[in-house]
Amino acid sequence: MDLRQIWTLYRHELRCALRERSILVMSIVLPVVLYPTLLWATFAGMSFVGGQAERQTSRIAVEALPETHQALFDSLEAGGNVALSPLAGPADEAYGEIARGRLDALVRFEPEGEGNAGLENNFRAVIAFNAARDRSRGARGRVEAAVETYRQAWIDEERKALGVQDSVWADFGVARNDLSTPDEGTRFLLGLLVPFLTLIMVALAAFYPAIDATAGERERSTWETLMTVAAPRGNIATAKYLYVATLAAMGGILNLAALTLSLQWIVGPLGGAEELARGGIPLSAFPVIAAGTALVALFVAAGMLVFAIFARNFKEGQSMITPFYMLIILPVVFIQSPDVELTNRLALVPVVNVALLIRETIMGGISVVPGALTLVSMTAFVALSVTFAQWIMRREEVLLGAAEGGLGQFLGRQFRNRRRGGS
């Protein structure tokens, strides 16, 4: 194997690819700008919607507020964002208005049940609202908060009047003791997101280069010329493979870097999610994520080349690679449940094992045996897929584009020929 020649071929592939707009966009630009754009748009949108909702006045109709609780009525109006009005007609009319969005809520104050009859002027506030409307939900929240505050103040006053001491009262309180660190919530969320998005980016970044390196050569009519250069077929295949794997790995790594930087530089200043903005991915996880991403990139590159080599043009290439792309992405979608853990058995399933390993690494709970098994099995899958890709790429009918159909038909023909005793 002539490394210098492979380097020449590899550099040539990269040079051509980096001048191709579709490859540049899918393999470099998209992984870099996707997160900043998505996160900025999401949090800016959330802030905007939140601000809008905050400024909106809740239109609330009130029925039968006991006169002794006028203070509750006043406290609701005190904020300036609630417009209270007495119920003018039948309740059904008000429900219709709420459904149409002309009224946000109807609060009816009913006397409390028999058990509480001992308390004078006790009431139960029944809120009618429309959960499908933001503004109506906001009105419900405002009424609930005001009633709760009023209730607490009322109880305190009654308690003091009855001479119940604070210390006695505190015996029946509830105190929370959250044992998780502030970063754990973030890591849980990132543990679900990062493997999924990184693997999608790796596959997406390999997609166009794989087609470009094979069907692209045929479409440009450069394939035959390349087959007549003084390089062993193996060197050409290796250079093409390394080129696709490089862009795939680059897509994954850039994606991860963009995510980390976006969390700190975009989410933080927007104040959307403080925990996310703290970063969340522990530094110790990066080597494992990088190794996992590289292994998946090597595996995906070989797989995509095997499928794309049969295509005669870009369009055929896209349709031939898409099943493989789905094959990679779908299992990763199914393991999005946090209950799925990396076991010895799952460590033998390519791509899925790396996704789970990355997730566990981010969450800080890596299991040694399944982790090691993942790296070993993935390396074996890479070796197998590269060997298979090299075998396919040396076949004369494949090189000449004379092999009709895709990989399945080709393997079928090989099998039939072998049974016939031919080649």
């Binding site: 020649q5 040539h12 001048r19 009519s221 000449l400």
Partner: protein, 268 residues
């Protein structure tokens, strides 16, 4: 001719087609091309010209017979064979996103031209093929004539002793075709052994020192134009070609009083 840079003996290629069974695309081809000579491979579409040239350039593996380029056998030493030849097909076969200078540098390097001489060689080719003006413009922005020149320069980037041209003028206009033929004639003067396939009779007449007529995968006759004229008694190459193409084997040619004088017909 045994020490000729290009030589084949009984070169055969059989394809297997699921519907048609075995197809003998090339059937026992014997040709030889000396240094400083242009050997024309003249045949109709599907005659086996491209398959023969693809076997010589190691793109295809022969199923029978042998072929040598600069003494290297195509199946035994394919890399050495490719290092000694330049292959030029009907399409320009260039990478659109790189410049002519980058193209020449890449092909010189990948074809193992001595590393220390690559830059000088690239500059020499740029001057020789008059590419100076657009040497650093991306290929995709060049006209078809310019692309053709770059493609020719690319073919000889590593200065190979053997050149193969597979119907190079098929997609060119008259002026570009004339220029390309002039370049090929210039390469002959440099001592290159040139195999030139075409189905255009006038082109073969003008350019080739010897002509091998190939039909249904078999060489029916080989010789200079004069030798073919003498053998057939016909003047125009088109008539000569038709006469040979109408017969299917040397035996049949003999029946038609052609075989006795067949210069190298089937058995050069």
């Amino acid at each position: 001719m045994s020490d000729a840079p290009v030589r084949t003996e009984g070169l055969t290629k059989v394809f297997y087609d699921e519907s048609r069974g075995e197809v003998r695309a090339v059937d026992g081809v014997d040709i030889a091309c000396s240094a400083g000579e242009i050997l024309g491979l003249l045949g109709a579409n599907g005659a086996g010209k491209t398959t023969t040239l693809r076997m010589l350039s190691t793109v295809l593996r022969p199923t029978g017979g042998r072929a040598w380029v600069q003494g290297y056998e195509v199946r035994e030493a394919p890399e050495q064979v490719r290092a000694n030849l330049g292959f030029h097909s009907a399409s320009t076969a260039l990478y659109p996103k790189i410049t002519p200078r980058e193209t020449l540098r890449f092909f010189a390097r990948v074809n193992r031209y001595p590393a220390e001489g690559v830059e000088a060689r690239v500059e020499e080719l740029i001057r020789r093929f008059r590419l100076e003006e657009y040497a650093d413009t991306r290929v995709e922005k060049l006209s078809s004539g310019m692309k053709q020149k770059v493609s020719m320069a690319r073919t000889v980037a590593h200065d190979p002793p053997v050149l193969i041209f597979d119907e190079p003028t098929v997609a060119l206009d008259v002026l570009n075709a004339i220029e390309l033929r002039a370049i090929i004639a210039g390469l002959r003067k440099e001592g290159k052994a040139i195999l030139f396939s075409t189905h255009i009779m006038s082109e073969a007449e003008q350019l080739c020192d010897r002509i091998a007529i190939i039909h249904h995968g078999r060489i029916l006759a080989t010789g200079t134009l004069e030798e073919l004229r003498t053998a057939t008694g016909l003047h125009y190459l088109e008539d000569i070609f038709v006469r040979y193409a109408r017969v299917r084997s040397p035996a049949e040619a003999e029946r038609d009083n052609l075989g006795g004088d067949l210069p190298g017909g089937g058995h050069p």
